[in-house]
Structures are given as structure tokens and as C-alpha cells.
């Protein structure tokens, strides 16, 4: 099988093109710039468009415009850029526009640095913009998934008429791994709501405004129902040795790769640990966590943040199982050794 060796950021563009995306609007920012550069190179070759916008705000609004015409469209950035795009993402959620944003996280807050971090979890998974909305969030942990999940993002966006964010970190964006390219999407569902210059759609209006409180509430209730459907149907996760695990490790993105090594090491030392890696951060694998809490004694969450996903794990556990957090910030990556040490202490405590 033909395998291509590429960066995670490049793989996202391959996934987008195979997912039918034909428009890219973006602004350069480290560590996400290669996505724009790769799009600039390949989009014109498949008859698509690439435009380097004058700002992050401009880029997301251009995406809003292109999505309104029914075109599969994307942008990409990193934390500071996503902060700027939040207004446009809220408007897109309100107008129910399908679009894809890739966030290659870097260190924050503020200018922070360009090292990988996971401090955008709250601003992406919890909304970040104003209003009662959710976006679907996919969290790849390898270059293959950067391709596959970006492709999947376009299907999910169209299926639910909702923004989808591919949330990854500078590590996954910058590292190189072999990729097997998936089959391209060739069948697209019709979009009767678009503004595409046909007699059929001439009365369509793309808008997020509802002036009457009752109307806006109805619109919000409709959105909440959609989010509930998404939560019921689109949860994705990966599990490793969870059946007999006393301690369940949880982490996403690059941290889950470290946790895979931790599980192997721990198992070889006789420690019964397993791994639950959320692939979707919204919807969150709440049911799976609750199911595992019936057999596991403790949940151990590791992130490159101050514990933003940890909050969601605790919410899912509803206080029924203990949970511990171990993380680093600023671009420091948790090591296998550090986590193993933590686990040994935990198992000693569990024995007592």
C-alpha cells in the first residue's frame, strides 16, 4: 500500500481535499502555517480556491460566505487566531453553517509561545463565542488521523449543518509520519438551504437573528435537540486494556501517545492500567466513562493544560469514582517516567 511521509499539518489538507473541500481562507500563524501553505499549493490544482486573508477575523467571515453558498470550506489557525475567530464561529453555529476549522494549539495565554499545548480545550469544546451553541470537536493524535478526521469533519459538518473543529496540538501538526490516503468522498448530499443563485434557492436567507424572544428560544431549542442527536450518535473514542484495568488513563492528542507507552510500561511491571482516549471531545464519551467507572477504581487524566478536559471527566463521573490530574503547561510535555511514578504512588495508595 502506498504510504506518504508528511507533516500533520499537510495531512489535514490532504484530508480536506479528499473530503470535498474546495476553498481555504486563512492567515499565517505558527505552528499552523503549513496548512495554509499546503492549501495554497494544492487547492488550485483541484480547481479550488485559496486566499490569504488580511486577518483571522476576515478569514472566518470569508469562510462564512463560502459556506453559505454550499461549498465545503475550511480555515486553520492556532490559539490566538481562534480567539479572534470565535465571533464568526458563534455566528456560523447560529446560522447553522457547515464549515471546518483546524486549531493547532500552541502555548498561552496571550502571545504565550509556539510550543505545543492543550490550553484551547475550553475555548473550543465549551464554545468560546457567545450564545448557547456547541461545535463538534475531533481530536487527532497522529498524522494519519489529521488526514482521516479532517476528511470526516466535512461529512459531519454537512450532516448536522454545524461548525466542526479539528483540535490538535503543535506536536501532531509539526511531526512527520506515514499516511495512507483514504478514498475521496464523491457523493454529496443536497443542501436545499444554500444561497447559490438558482431559482430553487432564491428565497433562502442565511442569518442568525431572531428578534422575538419566543422565536429565538424555539431556534435555540432546535439547536439543543441537534446537539443531543450528535451526542447520541457521534461519540468516538479509543480504548486499550480497559477490561481489567483498575486505573483508567485519559488524555487526547499527543498526550494520548505518551499514555500508550505508559500503559505498555505499566502492564509490563504488573500494574493493571488501561487507556481511554476521546477522539471526539464534543460529543464527550460520558457514557463510556460511566461504564468504566463501574469496574475501575480510579481515573487518571493527563493534559498539557491546567486540567481543562479533567473538568469534563469529573462531570461524567458525577463523583462516583475518584479522579486525579497530572499535567504540564507552557509547552512542557509529560514524560512516560513522570506518569509511571505517579501511577506507582496511586497503586500504593489503592493497596492501603
Amino acid at each position: 500500500m502506498l504510504r506518504l511521509f508528511m507533516k500533520g499539518n499537510e495531512a489535514a489538507v490532504y484530508g480536506a481535499i479528499l473530503g470535498g473541500c474546495r476553498a481555504y481562507y486563512g492567515y499565517p500563524i505558527t505552528p499552523a502555517s503549513e496548512i495554509a501553505e499546503t492549501a495554497a499549493k494544492y487547492f488550485p490544482q483541484v480547481g479550488g480556491t485559496f486566499l490569504q486573508a488580511e486577518s483571522e477575523v476576515a478569514a472566518i467571515n470569508m469562510v462564512y460566505g463560502a459556506a453559505s453558498t454550499g461549498q465545503r470550506v475550511m480555515t486553520a489557525s492556532s490559539g490566538p487566531g481562534l480567539s479572534l475567530k470565535q465571533e464568526g464561529i458563534s455566528y456560523s453555529a447560529g446560522s447553522e453553517l457547515p464549515l471546518v476549522v483546524v486549531d493547532v494549539m500552541r502555548g498561552g495565554p496571550g502571545l504565550g509561545n509556539i510550543a505545543p499545548e492543550q490550553g484551547d480545550y475550553n475555548q473550543i469544546v465549551k464554545g468560546g463565542g457567545h450564545g448557547n451553541y456547541r461545535v463538534i470537536v475531533l481530536a487527532p493524535n497522529c498524522v494519519q488521523e489529521m488526514c482521516d478526521l479532517t476528511k470526516a469533519a466535512f461529512e459531519l459538518a454537512d450532516k448536522y449543518r454545524n461548525p466542526v473543529i479539528v483540535l490538535t496540538d503543535g506536536f501532531v501538526g509539526q511531526m512527520m509520519e506515514p499516511v495512507v490516503l483514504p478514498e475521496p468522498i464523491t457523493e454529496f448530499q443536497e443542501k436545499p438551504w444554500v444561497v447559490d443563485g438558482t431559482v430553487k434557492t432564491v428565497n433562502n436567507l442565511i442569518s442568525s437573528i431572531e428578534l422575538e424572544p419566543e422565536d429565538l428560544e424555539r431556534h435555540n431549542i432546535k439547536l439543543q435537540k441537534k446537539y443531543k442527536t450528535i451526542s447520541e450518535n457521534e461519540v468516538r473514542y479509543e480504548e486499550l486494556y480497559t477490561e481489567d484495568a483498575e486505573v483508567i488513563l485519559m488524555g487526547y492528542g499527543i498526550v494520548s501517545r505518551v499514555l500508550q507507552s505508559v500503559v505498555d510500561e505499566a502492564r509490563s511491571e504488573g500494574l493493571p492500567v488501561g487507556l481511554l482516549r476521546p477522539v471526539t471531545l464534543f460529543p464527550f464519551p460520558t457514557n463510556k466513562i460511566q461504564e468504566l467507572s463501574r469496574t475501575a477504581k480510579l481515573f487518571f487524566v493527563s493534559e498539557m493544560s491546567n486540567g481543562q478536559m479533567f473538568d469534563d471527566v469529573r462531570l461524567a463521573l458525577e463523583g462516583k469514582s475518584p479522579a486525579k490530574f497530572f499535567g504540564h503547561m507552557g509547552g512542557v510535555v509529560p514524560t512516560t517516567e513522570e506518569i509511571l511514578e505517579q501511577l506507582k504512588m496511586i497503586f500504593n495508595e489503592l493497596k492501603e
Binding site: P28, T30, A40, F50, Q52, S55
Partner: protein, 345 residues
């Protein structure tokens, strides 16, 4: 109206006093080193104490500037330095406020803040390091990149038309508009000195070489062999003459500038356009700014325009004084329990 110089004769600063002493982290050969050196060399002559000067930046290579100056420094958000500077100047009008920015920072993501700072004529000084490329993000095209330029984000050449910074600043209402070159230290020092003395929004576009991602963008203007034939030094009250032998001039034929040969027997220096930087009509500034867009025309450097207009900060503080003199000093009680409030019983 140029700012009064504060007597700092007791304090004898040198360029070294304005260096923060921390390691300068630009790429070897970057034009930013020269800009920093010229600012540090001229700073002792601003007539300001170190604690009266503040350097503000956004994001980009240029925006490391405040770290290297031994003055106050604010490193803000991408494109927003002009807005941050407006807040600083309005809060403390006694500060001399400088902005270090770039073509991406001020003409792309911060375009709106830049034009509105110019429009208000707030008394800040903006140095725009124009290297016609995004350097910090490693080589994408910028809003001043020439049409057709091949970069990492324009592999088949840009289709955008570039901004002309002089036109943008002039059109937006900046009251001091100048251009200089990183490789012409003396000229750059003179422009910085003049900006420091201007009351109102002073804008200097500095052509700056990025040796890594856009090397040689301005070499025709800075190399010995080509410089004289391609650079026109604007001087107030002087005819526009250029060329290695000072044998070429610019004549204004109605609203059409033309290059004339002073040795062809038909033209003399008396035919040349005489530069008037205080011209209240911006039309001629736009004509000069266009030289860079016309083939075979020299690139003008120097002060394009300098004129007096009330500044936002002085007018605003004047307004506060007027309101207080008419209505008296407001007190908390008067505001809370004055005409507009009533008691619910």
C-alpha cells in the same frame, strides 16, 4: 507646530542608555538591527527623559523592538499596537508614544486600527518596517508584496495588488508622512528626529531588508551602483532632481509627473517640480506616492508631507476642561442624585 523640546541638558544620554542590554534576537543581517541602532542613536536628542518614552508593538519581527529599548515597553496583540498606543497617549498625554510595526501587522490584520489612528491624528509616532513579506511566520506574502510574488503561501504568484503605505497613511489623515531606508542610517536618523518633533500622527515607512525570506527586495535602492538613479531624496523647497550626475528631474505636467533629462538641451532645473511638504492639498502627495508604481520612476524617500492639525489627545483634554468650566466639577452625589434620578416610595 513642532513639539517643544524639554530641557534635558542636565541629563546627557548616549545611545547606550537606550539599549536594554538583552540579546537581540533577529536573524543575522536583518534590517531591523539598523533601525534599532538609528533609534537608539537619535533617542538622546528627542529632548525626553527615558521615563517619558514608551515603545509599543504588536506581533511580527518588528514587534520585538520594545524588548531592546531601555524605555517603557508594551508588547501587545497582532495588529493592535496603534489602538494600544491610543489608550496610552490618551491616559497619559505627557508620554512620547512610539509604535514599532510591520507591513503585516499594520496594513493587514491591524489595517483598521492603523487608519483610525491616522484619522484621529493622535500624537503618536509609527515606524512601519516594510519588508514586503511575513518573516516571523517564515515567508508568506504580505499586503505589500508585489503582484505576482512567489512565496510559501503563493506558490503560483500572488494575485493581490499591494498596498502603498504612503497612500494609505496620507489618505487616512496622518499629518507627518515619510519614507526611509534601513541601509541609509543618516537619512533614517533625520526622519526619526523629525518624527519625534512632530505633534500629531507621524508615520515613517522604512524599507527593510529581510535577508532570509525576501532578500534584496530593496537592493536597487541601497546598492552603490544603482542607488542614485533609483532614489529621489525629497527636500522641502528643493527641485526634484536625481541620478548619479544629478542629471534627471521630475516635471509636473498638469497632474502628470514626467521624468526629464536635464542635459537634453530642452529642460533645465527650473522645469523641475519643487517639493512643498507643507502643501495643504494631498493631491500632490498621492502623485509622489505613485512613483513606486510607475516604471522608470525613482522611489521617493524623505518627508512627503508635514502639516499642522489639532491632535485628538489635545482636543479631547481641552474638551474636558471646557465641560468642567461650564458645568463645574462633577461629584458622585451630583451624578447619582441629580436631575435624572428619583426616589421610589
Amino acid at each position: 507646530m513642532e513639539n517643544n523640546i524639554i530641557e534635558t541638558s542636565q541629563i546627557k544620554y548616549t545611545a547606550k542608555d537606550f539599549s536594554s542590554g538583552i540579546d537581540v534576537k533577529w536573524c543575522p543581517g536583518c534590517g531591523d538591527y539598523s533601525i534599532l541602532a538609528q533609534v537608539q542613536r537619535t533617542s538622546p536628542d528627542f529632548g525626553k527623559k527615558k521615563e517619558d518614552i514608551v515603545w509599543i508593538s504588536g506581533i511580527g519581527c518588528s514587534s520585538r523592538f520594545p524588548y531592546y529599548m531601555n524605555t517603557y515597553g508594551i508588547h501587545g496583540i497582532h495588529g493592535r499596537a496603534a489602538a494600544v498606543a491610543t489608550g496610552v497617549k490618551l491616559a497619559n498625554p505627557d508620554l512620547q508614544v512610539w509604535v514599532a510595526t510591520g507591513d503585516g501587522d499594520s496594513l493587514s490584520i491591524g489595517g483598521n486600527h492603523f487608519i483610525h489612528a491616522c484619522r484621529r491624528n493622535i500624537d503618536i509616532k509609527i515606524l512601519l518596517f516594510n519588508n514586503r513579506i511575513y518573516g516571523l511566520t517564515k515567508g508568506q506574502y504580505s499586503p505589500t508584496s508585489e503582484k505576482g510574488k512567489i512565496t510559501k503561501s503563493s506558490p503560483y504568484g500572488t494575485v493581490d495588488f499591494p498596498f502603498n503605505a504612503i497612500k494609505v497613511a496620507t489618505g487616512s489623515g496622518a499629518t507627518f508622512v515619510a519614507r526611509s531606508l534601513d541601509r541609509d542610517p543618516k537619512h533614517l536618523q533625520e526622519m526619526i528626529m523629525r518624527a519625534s518633533r512632530h505633534k500629531g500622527l507621524a508615520f515613517i515607512e522604512i524599507y527593510q531588508n529581510c535577508p532570509i525570506f525576501n532578500d534584496g527586495a530593496f537592493s536597487v535602492l541601497t546598492e552603490k551602483e544603482t542607488r542614485a538613479d533609483n532614489v529621489l531624496y525629497l527636500e522641502h523647497g528643493k527641485p526634484m532632481v536625481f541620478g548619479a550626475n544629478q542629471d534627471k528631474g521630475i516635471k509636473l505636467d498638469g497632474l502628470n509627473p514626467v521624468v526629464i533629462d536635464l542635459n537634453d538641451g530642452k529642460h533645465s532645473i527650473d522645469d523641475c517640480w519643487v517639493h512643498d511638504e507643507n502643501d495643504p492639498n494631498p493631491t500632490r502627495v498621492f502623485l509622489m506616492a505613485r512613483f513606486t508604481d510607475i516604471e522608470n520612476f525613482p522611489t521617493p524617500v524623505g518627508v512627503f508631507r508635514r502639516y499642522d492639525k489639532p491632535t485628538y489627545d489635545s482636543d479631547y483634554h481641552e474638551q474636558i476642561k471646557n465641560v468642567i468650566s461650564k458645568k463645574g466639577t462633577g461629584t458622585y452625589e451630583k451624578l447619582m442624585f441629580g436631575k435624572g434620578s428619583w426616589e421610589v416610595k
